[in-house]
Symmetry: C2
Subunit: 302 residues, 2 copies
Amino acid sequence: MTRTIAVIGCGLIGRAWAIVFARAGCDVRLWDPVPEVRDALPGLLEATAEVSRDDPAALAHVTVCDTLQDALVGAEWVQENGPERLEVKQALYAQLDAMAEDGAILASSSSALVASRFAEGLASRGRIIIVHPVNPPHVVPVVELCPSPDTAPEVMDTAEAFMRELGQVPVRLSREIDGFVLNRLQAVVLAEALSLIEQGIVTPQGLDDTMAHGLGRRWTLMGPIATINLNAAGGVTDFMTRYGSMFARLADSAARGEAFTQRAAEILAETMPGPDEVQTASLARDRRLAALARHLASEQED
Amino acid sequence: MTRTIAVIGCGLIGRAWAIVFARAGCDVRLWDPVPEVRDALPGLLEATAEVSRDDPAALAHVTVCDTLQDALVGAEWVQENGPERLEVKQALYAQLDAMAEDGAILASSSSALVASRFAEGLASRGRIIIVHPVNPPHVVPVVELCPSPDTAPEVMDTAEAFMRELGQVPVRLSREIDGFVLNRLQAVVLAEALSLIEQGIVTPQGLDDTMAHGLGRRWTLMGPIATINLNAAGGVTDFMTRYGSMFARLADSAARGEAFTQRAAEILAETMPGPDEVQTASLARDRRLAALARHLASEQED
């Protein structure tokens, strides 16, 4: 694969994307608005590649550019990783609209803002698409592809095929929805988890254990739908007949947005490792995510 | 560890429990009301042990008994795995109440019925406790410990310590709640998943991919609370400040029990492997769960 890719915004997500593109043999052009970030990028990229055990030789395909314009030269795919602030995205997409190559796909890593909020009115709006990774994408393969009402269907097709070529797992949404799929699922679990913790029914550790040593393992191997297909002798139809009304009742009694209280936040803060441990723990998590990806990939080969 | 354990009801869950107890060196006494099940148990147990790569020599500690009374002789822990039907549990616990050893803990694998519904009025009610595994417990370690209002606190303590000795991961609930923790979390995810699928926003495969290749991986490594603690530079307090209102809004717009529709069931049935594949796929899943448990355990040793 030889394609030219621009990665715009080079924080943790941008750097991980750079590895994803570079390991597949793409020419990767990086730009970040902060000069100090640009200067530090070669060292930071080596550290990022080390986490996923990527060969640092792949970084030979990566060029750090001094200007946005320079990064966009020849790029047929632009992966934007700017801050999640509407006015910043709007200003940035106005620039990309004016400066990117004709026909380039403008892919946003946005995890919350939907594309219509910053694509509207731009000439390139048909080529603007959400390509939302789980941080960091070089060790977690899923990417949500979410169109705005203006995104051309063939841009979705191209994005899906490209992500598959890269070894990522694209998930295609048919239309715009707040939170996409992943964060909608995360939201309902967090609401119920916070409520159970604040009620004192289970500790934060107990809640995490329930997922990590139980439910999460099945979901990691096959997802929630394939899971229920195996949880009744007659498959999913049997499951829904036997247990649908029980699960409906539980869902009806579940917590909603009101569970995100100050008090819940305080209980969590009391029991979780403190902010000074976040960076070290995140790095350890990313190494474990990489090891898990290798484990799951080795299963596919059996 | 030499304890005598009675396993009452020897379907998939009972057989997996037998392996959990036997591998730890307990003397295990099995009984099932169906004679054909009892006769088949030696072969079925070997097959169960093979899935988790347990040494079949551990099965030397297992005795199949002809009567309930015989299975209960000397047992200080009774693991009951009867059908999830209230009248069946009530009749069974009346028998256990009369026949089990003095002081024996009566642990139910019930996944939905709370203990107060079948323990009430029995002399042994202080020793009746829910010990809910994820099927099958010999390859998935979590067990939810849920008391009834009558369960003695020291029975909870004993159960927690015993499960830890066995190598399971006990999660202690402070009081009775419908669905315990695990199925409450499963309920909210299923409701939102079914809704997104029925709306056509994502396919069943896309929904499963989002979890299996994304969110589920973090949750398997550390659970949802430890996950959000690493999703903002300043830890969980920072996360709640930055993203709490966004997640609250998503939770408020999430689906509830009404998502468990006939139409959703039909869409799933159209795309999932059929009922004739459930048994083979379940066995493959259990082997993968065992491999995942080995992978995660090997990490702890690093």
